[in-house]
Symmetry: C2
């Protein structure tokens, strides 16, 4: 497993915060989520990602990208676009997306 939280470079860069409430049952979600995880890591400008989902099916994924163009390219990636369509059809009750420019970041590790 990758280091958690993700190790990110010196700002500036972009964060995409995806917060979602899952529907009941899997319906192929797990397999697609794993595939999206694999694909986004190949995306030019991808810098890192953190993700957590609680026992009630509410989750937050934060993806870090070099610039807005990298985000745009990921949005038009065909498999990702298809996964988003399926997400609205089957996997999510609600979601929100916030696109934000990271101005500063720090990390703490237990000594």
């Amino acid at each position: 497993m990758a280091t958690r939280p993700a190790e990110t470079p010196e700002p500036p860069y972009y964060a995409v915060v995806f917060a979602s409430q899952r529907t009941e049952g899997d319906h192929g979600y797990g397999e697609t989520a794993d595939e999206m995880d694999r694909l986004v890591r190949q995306q030019p400008g991808f810098l890192g990602m953190d993700s957590a989902r609680d026992g009630d099916g509410f989750g937050i994924t934060v993806g870090y990208f070099r610039d807005e163009e990298s985000i745009r390219q990921w949005l038009v990636q065909p498999d990702h676009a298809g996964a988003r369509d399926r997400g609205r059809a089957e996997w999510y009750h609600h979601y929100s997306v916030h696109v934000a420019k990271v101005e500063r970041a720090y990390r703490w590790d237990r000594p």
Copy 2:
């Protein structure tokens, strides 16, 4: 419970992304987390918050604030400062903080 994901106003505003790996056991964490949740909602400039922690103790909390001054005021709030000290002493193995200016946001709700 508040609406999830949080309903946020039209950008611009700020997001603070806190990603953390908890230590084992509670050690008073739950009680303090509830108290911080209550206090931050009274903080001038607080706009909303989403939070999820998975079964492995990895969690992401995203707080939304009107401006940098609102974030600064929350950081110097005495109870919050004390909770952060205790977090480093007892509750977290690792954490990261990303402060980012939200440029655009959207939300989807199942029709």
